[in-house]
Symmetry: C2
Subunit: 195 residues, 2 copies
């Protein structure tokens, strides 16, 4: 889901990872007002040139870095819908509980107001929604759930349920959330409605 790297340029995966992590943490804590290529470079301990080698602008850096650190829905294909949904729920829980969670939530709030970020984030989001809808349709095609399953409702309640569970848990109690257990129970609860 990330933008393509400049063709033919050798890259260092470790630098890429540090830059993506620094960008996401900085945006999560400071928002757009505190976000610059210079501040990301400082936080990641790399030169600005290393960042511009890959990302043409701070807008592309922010969206690309966040897209790298959120679960890629298209990669989830366990062979059963239940397995896919549990894995997706686990990945989303980990994301909301981890350092990318704040950045992801802030992006949802701020992206529409940021030219250059808005369209990039919207493209990323649309690709994720398409992949998630395809995941549900594979389950329908395999006969695991009813053909008239309300796909949008199933995805809204799965992804929204995870986000709300984390946001409604006070920060000091979040380490107590049992990711495996919640993901299993959530999927069982939702599939009971459509199986």
């Amino acid at each position: 889901m990330s933008a393509s790297p400049a063709a033919g340029r050798p890259r260092n995966p470790d630098v890429d990872r540090r830059v993506a992590r620094a960008a996401v943490e900085l945006f999560g804590s400071q928002g757009w007002a505190g976000f610059s290529v210079e501040a990301v470079a400082r936080r990641a301990g790399v030169g600005k040139a290393s960042i511009y080698l890959r990302w043409p602008s701070k807008e592309a850096l922010l969206v690309g870095a966040l897209a790298e650190r959120v679960p890629v829905v298209a990669d989830v294909d366990t062979g059963t819908l239940r397995g896919d949904l549990v894995r997706l729920a686990r990945q989303l829980l980990d994301m909301h509980l981890g350092p990318s969670g704040r950045a992801f939530e802030r992006m949802g709030l701020d992206a529409p107001q940021l030219p250059g970020v808005a369209e990039r984030w919207e493209r990323h989001r649309e690709a994720q929604v398409r992949a998630a809808r395809a995941m549900i349709r594979r389950g329908i095609d395999r006969g695991e759930i009813a053909a008239d399953t309300p796909v949008t409702l199933l995805l809204d309640t799965l992804c929204g349920g995870v986000a709300l569970h984390v946001s409604s848990t006070p920060e000091r109690l979040r380490p107590n959330i049992d990711v495996e257990d919640y993901a299993e129970r959530l999927v069982t609860f939702l599939l009971r409605s459509v199986e």
Copy 2:
């Protein structure tokens, strides 16, 4: 759910409403960095003294104003669980689609970092969760849903599903969301799992 007004002080409900609206809109668009009693007074077209008559600080003003403009769960009691959940879903949709939506989302993100806001918002949130759990338990007591209904999952998926449905709809398409229809379908989908 709002803080008590100073005892014995006469108040003008129209001024109160304008102040609450201005506070919520200002926080939604500018965040905490742009939030002050002076800026709220200017936006509401009232004097600062009118605000301090009711709210002792900008922290109390922000939480009190937002608490007044989000649905009060304790007020929802239609006689059936289905009726209660549909009303709650409709109110939450209206809230997320209206001018308080951004302020509410921003509060979830920023409140933990704002001393004086964090504890007030947490108290408000906890009272809402208690009222929502009581709503579900009334449904269990009336035999409308199974006694072993997972109360937290039902609330996470209802409230989170609504929030995600709005946030995943691009802003230009949000006026097309049919609030009545979505609320009915969401509740039918979730109750099928526990009836």
